[in-house]
Symmetry: C2
């Protein structure tokens, strides 16, 4: 398990792959983003997307799933305090096989809680053709090892 | 239906409410964010969250659901090109009744495609106690009315 002190700028992690079906895309959209271009392959043809496309929130949620299953292994888990940016340069399509590549871009100890660090991580989500379907910069809360050591046994 | 020209800075929209159950929280987490504090009320007690908490991506997805069902009624639907920021000041908890309040903060025509505008919208997601569970600034692609008029009949 990695604590705040075990991480440094430039550390890289990867996760996935994970294949997305048309049923997955339509099922997510029905619950969270019920718009024609996410729900119906036929109706999607006449839209900006030109065919069925996953909700960006579906791509973001699948990205989280791959981060949680990745080789990062952060102590305390993956607790996001927020996101600095997300972009969806291309949509996720039925049958896409996604994977994630993450890199630590900044580290700082919390001002209020010196037993915790904030780790800024850039994660790129790619499809089977190595096209980028999402870029994200997120801030994760990672416990400091010093704090863990200070906890009474 | 609202086109780019129909929107102005300061326009406000609202959506919801929508109630979140423990089953919803656990079901979403099992698929997209399988960590103890999102999966198991008992295990969550000993974590930073102090009890079962929804994944931030669940809160974001529910927010999208309320935006799609809101009174905004954008022509072309709600197509996000990206997100400038998301923060989760408090987690969504089992039984929470959420709602969204959105405000247009910036408007610009696309440089590349003058038939489309980019509308920056700030959306706050609140629970039944009016506590903020999410703030988000997102950029939506909205067709311009001029472009719609130019489409041959």
């Amino acid at each position: 398990m990695r604590y705040y002190e075990d991480l440094k700028v430039g550390d890289r992690f990867s996760g996935g792959p994970l294949t997305v079906t048309e049923d997955d895309i339509v099922g997510f959209a029905a619950r969270f983003d019920p718009q024609p271009f996410h729900l119906d392959a036929e109706a999607a043809k006449g839209t900006l997307f030109g065919g069925l496309a996953a909700s960006g929130w579906h791509t973001a949620s699948l990205t989280m799933r791959m981060i949680v299953g990745s080789d990062t292994e952060l102590a305390g888990g993956y607790i996001g305090v927020g996101v600095d940016s997300i972009a969806w340069p291309k949509p996720t399509r039925p049958g896409d096989r996604l994977r994630v590549e993450s890199e630590v871009v900044e580290l700082r100890l919390s001002g209020k809680r010196p037993d915790r660090g904030i780790v800024r991580i850039r994660t790129v989500t790619l499809n089977q053709a190595d096209e980028i379907v999402q870029t994200m910069v997120a801030n994760l809360l990672v416990p400091a090892r010093a704090a863990a050591a200070a906890v009474p046994a």
